[in-house]
Assembly symmetry: C2
């Protein structure tokens, strides 16, 4: 079963990486860009066919390792 | 106009960060996980209402700054 995990910085938390990328885009002439936020995108395979179990395990993985839930949000999608 | 950009490592390129995360997940007892690939997820706003122009500008941003097209693929979505 293929899983896609998205980890994003919470809305009220500063994103210095996003600010840096926005500054770089402005320097390159892309002045129309604002509010850049950078997150992580993960693809992983799970050796299981039980969707409910996969969701529960993925949630645990996100909470324990993949996301820092103090400052980050996560969501995931399961396929197949 | 809101844009979402996904940058992923090309399939035939090694992903050491993904391997490290996979190892950590295994150590934590998530043995069913394999083939972990880590990419970037970016959200940005564009001050334009012209979708065709936005697509062209986003493609240029990805090629110039957001992705290293030698080892990474990118794709993006536009909303609104």
């Amino acid at each position: 079963m293929k899983a896609t995990v998205y980890v994003t910085i919470k809305e009220n938390v500063l994103d210095p990486q996003g600010s840096a990328v926005q500054g770089a885009l402005h320097s390159l002439g892309f002045a129309e860009v604002n509010n850049v936020r950078i997150g992580k995108y993960m693809e992983l395979n799970l050796d299981t066919n039980d969707r409910a179990e996969a969701e529960e395990r993925l949630k645990a993985m996100c909470e324990k390792l993949l996301a820092n839930t103090v400052v980050e949000d996560f969501r995931f999608e399961l396929e197949g």
